[in-house]
């Protein structure tokens, strides 16, 4: 599974568990408007670390944090590459 598909499916999974209604996922969707709260993001980051072996939020240092779904995916693709 590509990183993109992994991230999108985990977003759906976490939203389901946390009973959140997701906005339609598109690359330019702002993370703040996605329907996920900070707990959801925390879980997402932890699950993705287990699946991909990387945590770009901790590894990034002073890199610019993602603000949209597209940037989030690129964030992981960049670290995994």
């Amino acid at each position: 599974m590509t990183i993109r598909l992994t991230i999108l499916s985990q977003i759906q999974q976490v939203a389901g568990e946390q009973k959140k209604t997701l906005a339609p996922l598109a690359d330019d969707l702002s993370l703040l408007d996605s329907g996920l709260d900070s707990l959801c993001f925390a879980i997402l980051v932890a699950r993705l670390e287990d699946m991909t072996g990387v945590d770009p939020f901790t590894a990034a240092g002073d890199a610019k944090f993602p603000t949209t779904i597209g940037e989030l995916i690129a964030f992981y693709e960049h670290v995994a590459a």
């Binding site: 568990e17 900070s38 707990l39 993001f41 925390a42 879980i43 980051v45 932890a46 699950r47 901790t58």
Partner: protein, 459 residues
């Protein structure tokens, strides 16, 4: 001058009939031998009035030395089996010790600055105990600090035995067994119960498999047995559990949840299943014998035995004659508050007419500012039919600082299906706030247990 002699272990042992003994694997200490025999040889007289660091090597030698030294020594520092050599000098300094009793089957400790170093040896040798002034010996117990030197907690035989009813002469003599080591508070309670109760005691030898211990305890006719919920979970997994047919099963040292109480009650339908709330510092607070988790809120109203409970900053505090008196050592913190209460650090929560233990103050997981007690989550996970035991811990997280993660041991024969993880998470989501639900569930073959029999919560 008119004060009565303080209570001593020798008094509690008085009239010990033949056949009473403390048994370990392949060895036994007969209790009828005192005071006409000794493990300390010619040094017994010279130990009188001293502050003695007791590191006798094993539980049988420790038991013998305790019986001989109580009332004779000014102070006994009871070293746990895992006391590291690097802490010995701090222990000697803080206890102002001037003698060491060591395992006579090994070399004497090196580099210890005390006046007398005495070996302890079994079997007991015939020796008339030299006369000595009867002292109210201080008993010093060690508790592990998370870092640095161990904390030293001052008790007396009176505070240690405050919760132990003296056996009626005609009552059946219980034969105790414990998974604990008698060199720590929980095990020491059982040692003292065996001494005061007129019966015998079966102890687990170092490194002895649970199955071997259960077989030995069953063969010895054990009627009363104690351990932590973690110990009892190991028993439940073991076929040799049925070698025992106890009258009384006692749990302490960790939260006894409904799942473990029910499982034990099913295993031993004839037995009284009780859990006790006790700690080295707070002593034995109370015992709960109604078979349910938690304790009745009415305990806050009762004053029997001079015990008073209160809630301080969410945790249970206890005032009684069974609490420790103080910490030893320079700069040691106060053990009791201005009203004489000892804070246990155990957080409690009222549900209906009962209080439930929900975790340790120091064990809280902080999920983005929201507080989670690991034990509260474990209780929900453990209630799942497929789950044998669980450990809930913090997992570092860049968004919320920490998240809740769970290591789960499944019951024998239950397959590690992903759907089972979903079921466990769903059960937690139904009963707990969202931030308390484990974000990550991992199946593991077993959970580490500390030397004192509790789930290892650090590392």
């Amino acid at each position: 001058m008119s004060r009565p002699d303080p209570l001593s272990l020798t008094d509690l042992l008085a009239g010990a009939g033949a056949g009473r003994a403390i048994g370990m694997k392949g060895a036994a200490l007969p209790l009828g031998g005192f005071p006409g025999a000794t493990s300390l040889g010619e040094n017994l007289g010279a130990l009188a009035g001293r502050a003695v660091v007791l590191m006798a090597g094993d539980q049988l030698k420790t038991a013998a030395a305790l019986i001989e030294l109580d009332g004779r020594a000014r102070r006994i520092v009871l070293c746990p089996p895992d006391l590291e050599a690097k802490h010995l000098n701090a222990v000697i300094r803080d206890a102002k010790a001037d003698a060491i009793v060591y395992d006579g089957d090994g070399p004497p400790p090196e580099g210890a600055d005390v006046a007398l170093i005495a070996p302890c040896l079994l079997p007991l040798a015939a020796h008339a105990a030299p006369a000595a002034e009867r002292l109210a010996t201080e008993w010093i117990l060690l508790t592990s600090g998370t870092t640095g030197d161990p904390k030293m907690v001052v008790h007396t035989l009176a505070s240690l035995t405050g919760a132990i009813a003296k056996a009626a002469p005609e009552a059946a003599r219980p034969h105790w067994a414990t998974f604990y080591d008698i060199r720590r508070y929980g095990g020491l309670q059982i040692f003292l119960r065996a001494i005061a109760g007129g019966g015998s005691l079966t102890l687990r030898s170092a490194g002895e498999a649970i199955e071997d211990f259960l077989n030995r305890a069953g063969g010895a006719g054990v009627t009363h047995i104690s351990g932590t919920p973690s110990h009892w979970r190991l028993v439940l997994m073991n076929g040799a559990a049925r070698r025992l047919d106890p009258d009384y099963v006692r749990l302490s040292g960790e939260i006894a949840d409904a799942a473990i109480l029910e499982a034990l009650s099913a295993l031993y339908p004839r037995a009284r299943i009780g859990h006790a709330f006790a700690s080295t510092e707070a002593g034995v607070g109370f015992e709960v014998d109604d078979g349910q988790a938690g304790f009745p809120a009415a305990y806050f109203e009762r004053r029997e035995g001079g015990i008073a409970l209160k809630i301080a900053d969410g945790s249970l505090a206890i005032r009684s004659s069974r609490t420790a008196l103080r910490y030893l050592g320079k700069g040691a913190p106060a053990l009791q508050d201005e009203d004489g209460f000892v804070d246990t650090g155990d957080l409690i929560e009222l549900r209906g007419d009962r209080y439930y233990f929900v975790g340790r103050r120091g064990g809280i997981i902080n999920v983005g500012g929201a507080k989670v007690n690991p034990e509260e989550v474990e209780a929900v996970i453990n209630a799942h039919a497929g789950v044998h035991a669980s450990l809930v811990k913090a997992r570092k997280n860049p968004i919320t600082g920490a998240l809740v993660a769970a290591d789960v041991v499944l019951n024998a024969g239950v397959a590690e299906a992903p759907s089972l993880k979903d079921e466990i998470i769903a059960a937690c989501a139904k009963q707990l706030a969202p931030y308390k639900v484990p974000a990550l569930v991992r199946f593991v073959p077993s959970l580490a247990v500390t030397p004192s029999g509790k789930l290892a919560r650090h590392g």
